[in-house]
């Protein structure tokens, strides 16, 4: 190469430049193969022409061809005044001028009007003349007027006496690289902004010894420190005191460095001293040459999630407890029925078998039997509640007459009503029939009537049944103390009674079960006040289950809770 440079009469600077610019052996071989087809004569400058020696002509021609063939670099010579003297393929490719268009023109045509106005071309050449070489990056203009970002090296060419002969100019089009660099810069900026703005995660850097080096919005939010308060501080201050001093922090960094990652869930401490349950990931960060420059630390506040998990667990435990209770209720009430059946059978046997029973004894046996019946109803109600709670409450629909059902129930209560001093009045329309569970409706009527007798003892009670379009309406009205409007909603809830426990007995399950039965039929149950005093329960039932109980109403309508 040095020989070639010497042969061409180029300065050492120029030789270095070519060494830097050309992947020599490759370009050379490539050019050798195309010598025959790529013979573009070099436009020699008159000054250098005079210095050529015959022995070097072949070398010079080859070298000229190499430069001529280079496509990625514009390589050309200009005279001392700045006029173009040679033009290679790269110059044509980058700038768009053919050799004929370019040679002889002044170099300033490649500069933007602003640069021209600022005298930039002259300044660059002056610097090159003084210092031997100048390098510049900036916008240049193509023949078609478009601009490209160029790296330009201008080298002064001097003869053996040091007289300035001209300049070599090597220009690279860096537009693509500049765009890539700009894109990368933008991408890094965006990424930095992204990390900065993330609020859900604390994302920050530690230096190799564990001091905080950066701090994002999430870190500020979760840990409570402003960036200026924490940058430079050791990350051990995020740990509870017992861990901060136990060497755990250093160990975590060691693990991260050795294994590429450290992750754990544990308690961390905020600036205000409160603790939070955190997921922490620490990863070592290395530069492009593999040097360890610190750690990336990502911390999530899992306190809410942990709370939610604990809440879910508590809920599951509560549900299991409820399920066990309902199961127990079901088994217990079933078990209760066996001895109850034996007692009731014996009492009935006593009452039926001995017609000549002493009246006082008979009276006692009757009361015992009635007590047994009430106990039976309570056990049934308990069973119903457990069935409703476990979704095993079902209706068996058949055609029945609501008026008849009411009559049958009333017959059973005649005796009790007269004991309680309640005059029973019936206002029953004929043929109010529908598709209902007859036994369940009996239960509703029984419940409403026994409530009226109990809470409105001594006043008249009226039961009425009427048809209203495709619905049947049952009302049970009393003239007792009535029920305050504020209690109307509550009264149908499980285990609630409007009357206070001190004044009335009973378990308050009846209305809850009644509402489930009525709603299971697709109906409604409500209360209204009776003037001047009293309460009226109103039950409406769709007469056809398809209209009321939904499209899938069948003989077995499930009442799910």
């Amino acid at each position: 190469m040095n020989n070639c440079s010497a042969a061409l009469g180029l300065t050492e600077g120029m030789g270095r430049l070519f060494r830097r610019l050309l992947p020599w052996p490759f370009e050379f071989q490539q050019l050798e193969t195309t010598l025959s087809t790529a013979r573009q004569p070099v436009q020699p400058s008159p000054e250098s022409e005079s210095k050529q020696e015959d022995a070097h002509e072949e070398g010079e021609e080859r070298y000229g061809l190499i430069i001529q063939g280079v496509k990625d670099y514009a390589i050309f010579l200009v005279d001392a005044e700045g006029h173009i003297r040679t033009w290679n393929a790269g110059a044509e490719a980058i700038k768009g001028y053919t050799p004929r268009e370019a040679i002889g023109r002044h170099i300033s045509m490649f500069y933007t009007p602003e640069d021209q106005a600022a005298g930039r071309p002259a300044r660059l050449f002056s610097t090159a003349a003084q210092e031997g070489r100048v390098e510049d990056e900036g916008w240049r203009v193509r023949k078609d007027g478009t601009r490209f970002w160029a790296d330009v090296v201008i080298t002064a060419l001097r003869d053996k006496d040091g007289k300035l002969q001209g300049f070599s100019k090597v220009t690279r089009d860096l537009t693509a690289r500049r765009e890539a660099e700009e894109a990368l810069r933008q991408s890094e900026l965006r990424f930095r902004l992204l990390v900065q703005s993330v609020k859900e995660y604390a994302i920050f850097m530690l230096d190799p010894r564990g001091h905080v080096a950066s701090w994002n919005a999430g870190a500020a939010r979760i840990k409570g420190y402003a960036p200026e308060e924490i940058i430079g501080q050791h990350f051990s201050r995020f740990y509870p005191p017992e861990e901060a001093t136990s060497g755990k922090c250093a160990w975590e960094l060691e693990v991260a460095l050795a294994e590429g990652r450290f992750e754990e869930e544990g308690w961390r401490v905020r600036k205000d001293g409160t603790r939070f349950w955190a997921n922490v990931v620490i990863q070592p960060v290395r530069d492009s040459e593999g040097r360890h420059i610190g750690f990336a630390k990502v911390t999530r506040d899992l306190t809410e999630r942990r709370k939610a998990e604990e809440e879910r667990l508590r809920l599951a435990q509560a549900q299991e407890a409820v399920r066990l209770r309902d199961e127990f209720l079901s088994i217990a009430s079933h078990e209760l029925k066996t001895p109850l059946s034996a007692i009731q059978l014996q009492l009935q046997s006593l009452l039926h078998g001995a017609k000549d029973l002493e009246p006082k004894l008979r009276n006692k046996a009757e009361r015992a039997f009635r007590g047994g019946e009430r106990l039976t109803q309570l056990v049934e109600a308990l069973l119903d509640v457990s069935r409703i709670a476990t979704g095993r409450f079902s209706l068996t629909l058949e055609t029945c007459d609501l008026g008849r059902t009411v009559e049958e129930v009333v017959e059973r209560f005649r005796e009790q009503a007269s004991r309680d001093g309640c005059e029973l009045t019936l206002r029953l329309e004929e043929n109010v029939t529908g598709e209902w569970d007859r036994l369940r409706l009996e239960q509703v009527v029984t419940n409403l009537l026994s409530n009226a007798l109990r809470y409105a003892a001594g006043t008249p009670v009226e039961l009425a049944v009427r048809a209203e379009g495709d619905h049947a309406v049952l009302t049970v009205s009393d003239q007792g103390p009535g029920i305050p409007e504020s209690e109307w909603e509550r009264i149908f809830a499980r285990f609630e009674r409007a009357a206070s426990m001190r004044h009335y007995g009973g378990m308050g399950l009846g209305l809850y079960v009644s509402r489930q039965i009525v709603e299971g039929h697709g109906g409604t149950i409500s209360i209204e006040a009776v003037k001047p005093q009293g309460a009226r329960f109103i039950v409406t039932l769709p007469r056809s289950p398809r209209k009321g109980a939904g499209p899938d109403a069948s003989a077995e309508a499930e009442v799910a809770r």
């Binding site: 109850l340 034996a342 046997s349 079902s394």
Partner: protein
């Protein structure tokens, strides 16, 4: 009036004894069995079949369902009507499944027992 013979299949001794007494008091010949297996054994060995069987559902060894299944497969015994007597709330559904004559919910009332006997014997 001929005394009707009624069988009570019931595992609980108190209930079984009470039912037997009540049936006797109401003019029936009553015979008891503690489970389905004993009932079948009795029915297959006796010369005088009952005109009605009062059948509990939940019993050890052989429950009411299994008894009814076996009974229905026996051409002689299958003709005896069965009244299901159970504490189950859905005794009606069970009775229908077993093709029973009717059902009585526990605790039974004497009127229901008498009515069932009058109707089916």
């Amino acid at each position: 009036m001929n005394r009707h013979k009624v069988m009570v299949v019931e595992d609980d001794a108190e209930i079984r004894e009470a039912l037997l007494e009540i049936l006797e008091e109401n003019g029936c010949d009553a015979v008891g069995a503690v489970n389905g297996e004993r009932a079948l054994a009795y029915l297959r060995s006796t010369d005088s079949l009952p005109c009605l069987i009062l059948l509990d559902l939940m019993m050890p060894i052989m429950d009411g369902h299994a008894f009814r299944e076996a009974q229905l497969q026996d051409p002689v015994l299958s003709r005896i009507p069965v009244v299901v007597v159970s504490a189950y709330r859905d005794v009606q559904t069970n009775a229908e499944k077993l093709n029973a004559a009717t059902f009585i919910r526990k605790p039974p009332r004497i009127e229901e027992l008498v009515s069932a006997i009058e109707q089916h014997c």
